[in-house]
């Protein structure tokens, strides 16, 4: 069984200008979204208190709001999560200073007083003070930075500089667009999402490297003169069925996580889904055509 008929050669390079234009537009939209709409940072990075609570009777968002109104938290973000019958809510408030411990106890107390001790199930409490959120923010960005450096060095060592630049540009492309989608969708950037971005970095590279390896191999085989552009086309075409199969199997499992994995890792799964799609596209249409620039300069 074959998805791509053997011997198929698709002229990917013919579309490279269109692809560059598309990517440029997507990146601009992403950057505008990030800088204009802003990113919805979770409490991991802003500091704050987040309480996930489930009630054993029907409770409406407004009732939760009026329950915590008297303790001065009427402006808290209250979000109904899960399915309709779950009566589950996410209450979030910002925290001033290093410790928001009092806020946690106040909210819990107010909910128990209003709805009754037995009807309130505090499922999760996350309280992050300012000092810790600063640390987490710094570590999160440092980790993306160091992963980029480490990968750059590895590819540089294994391939030539041109490949390395192509791979890193494709990575930046993937991360920027994924973050842009988060900004547009208003989804929350939390610690697991940073982990997902790093996973995207790994996977996007995976695809790129498979194609690069084939390009390098084909260059070795094709002793003498050859058209570099058509060599790129045939390299991508030869690996296309693998690219599609792996992307599909990975996408399927992440989709399962997204649909059935629960609220805690929903954003994580979403980030990887977006990153997979963008990453697969970029290894074909961005990472590979970039090599053309380096090739031309040498001639």
């Amino acid at each position: 069984m074959d998805i791509i008929r053997p011997g198929t050669q698709i002229d990917f390079m013919k579309y490279r200008k269109a692809a560059f234009a598309l990517s440029a537009v997507l990146i601009v939209i992403s950057l505008v979204a990030v800088f204009v709409r802003g990113l919805n940072y979770g409490i991991d990075f802003t500091g704050g208190t987040e309480i996930q609570v489930a009630f054993s009777e029907t409770v409406k968002t407004d009732e939760v709001r009026s329950a915590i109104g008297p303790i001065g938290l009427a402006n808290a973000t209250i979000q109904s999560i899960g399915e309709d019958g779950d009566n589950e809510f996410l209450i979030r408030t910002p925290t001033e200073g290093d410790s928001g411990d009092d806020t946690v106890q106040q909210i819990e107390g107010a909910l128990r007083d209003t709805f009754g001790e037995e009807k309130v199930d505090i499922r999760r409490v996350d309280m992050v003070g300012a000092a810790v959120s600063q640390d987490l923010k710094q570590k999160g960005f440092l980790s993306l930075f160091y992963a980029g450096i480490g990968i750059l060095i590895y590819i540089w060592w294994r391939f030539q500089l041109g490949y390395s630049v192509g791979a890193i540009l494709a990575l930046a492309h993937d991360v920027i667009i994924t973050v842009g989608v988060f900004a547009i969708a208003g989804r929350e950037i939390s610690l697991p999402v940073i982990a997902a971005l790093l996973a995207i970095v790994g996977y996007s590279l995976n695809d790129t490297i498979v194609i690069y390896d084939r390009i390098r191999e084909n260059i070795k085989k094709a002793a003498g003169s050859f058209g570099f552009s058509s060599l790129l086309d045939s390299s991508i075409s030869q690996t296309l069925s693998r690219t599609l199969i792996t992307s599909t199997t990975t996408f399927v499992v992440v989709l399962a996580l997204f649909l059935f994995g629960g609220s805690v890792i929903n954003n994580f799964a979403f980030a990887i889904m977006v990153g997979l799609i963008v990453g697969t596209y970029s290894s074909i249409f961005i990472a590979s055509p970039i090599l053309l620039f380096f090739r031309r300069e040498k001639k």
Partner: protein, 524 residues
Amino acid sequence: MDKFKLKGLLILAVLVVGILFAAPSFFGSKEVPEGWIGPKEKIKLGLDLQGGMHLVLRVVADKAVESRMNSTASDLKAQMVKQRIHYSSVSPESPELLRVVLRVPDDYGKLADLIRSGYPYLQEVDRSSKGGAMTVDYRISAREAATIRSQAVEQALETVRNRIDQFGVSEPSIIPQGDERIVLQLPGVTDPDRAKDLLKNTAILEFKLVDEEHSVQDALRGDVPSGSYVAYMKEGNQPILLQDRAVLTGDLLDDARMRIQSTYNEPYVEISFSREGGRIFERVTSENTGKRLAILLDGKVYSAPVIREAISGGKAIIEGRFTDAEASDLAIILRAGSLPAPVEILEERTVGPSLGRDSIYQGFLSMIIGGLVVVAFMLVYYRFSGLIADLALIVNIVLILGALAVLGATLTLPGLAGIVLTIGMAVDANVLVYERIKEELRLGRTAKMAVDAGYKNALSTILDANITTLIAAIVLFQFGTGPIQGFAVTLSIGIVASLFTVLVLCRWIQEWLVNYQKIERISI
């Protein structure tokens, strides 16, 4: 025996070891049955899966410096009276600065001698005379302050450990982080508020003289003499008039133990002071023999015995018709209870048991659904070779679980997601190899040649692709915390395991098929 068979045996050995280590975890919360020959360690579940509490505490160590300066101030006052140094006030101006105002500036020489001999950690920073009085400012030396701070954190760590032990948490993890922080992992804590109260309680121990010159009744009516206040006994809540100033505090205590008085078989608590504490205690008791000394914990008076004689040697006893349990509890509070400085909670992450159970269920549900789709796809697309890949996938998961158990790593919810991702990714190596084999077959190679070339040509690609992901995972482990590290761990183990299952296990099976079973057509 040839190399090929030896390789087969090695693979079998890895498989058996993997299964042995993975097996105990399948019993879930049940005990591993008697007679199980393998290891018994199960995979540790993270707090986000089993429920529990993660706390980051900060010890406010500056408070420890402050309280040391306070006790130094009162000690200094007494010494100055003894040596006839005429002062009008001794007061801490900031946590690190002590201001002495001398009524007679000529006494400065004596003061300087006293400081040099008795309080070498105080450094004079400023001196000025005004209207016949002299003001001298002393700063605690940076080294002494740093020592007090680090001791405060160390002692707080010890105290927190003791308290958690008393609280009865199974397998807690309590580790220091940076200069002032303590990270606690408390699995299975069902009452987070009680746990937090237990930790935040400073339980500061103080010794104060009872004001016996004035009447408690007058004070209760509102006529409180200056320098005194009304406190209440812990038992019975009777009022008692105490001097404001603590003559001694808990940070100068070394130890507290329950002892049994041999003649009457009555329990009491013996406390041992540090050297400085012992000196202060000896002075206080010699100057106040016959008076009552109150022992307070967080402002509550535990007892107020009469001082019978000056006590040297740095030991004191607290008696008060205790039962054995009461005496033992008091000793625990004194020993473990005194936090040298207050703590504040910088970060709290609590997952209730219901969410933990849901997360495990949802994690495994996605794993099974995703896994089944992938298994079915491989079977349909690659037929018999797909079956081999599916076998490799199952072995892969067993090896990940076994490795988690043997490394003592913690399985978190993102860690479960990492395993799910590995399922999607693990087949990638198979796909790379199979696509190569197909290409070779199309070129008209024999089955044997195609298998050889397929694995050989795909090798460097597979390694490159996986090593870069491994780099990302290692960086993630380095910078991540708790649950995120769990993701990095399963991702890394998954990568290594998939390299083994594809490049060693699958290759062996297919080589066996073409070389030993003389299969001429590969079902792929």
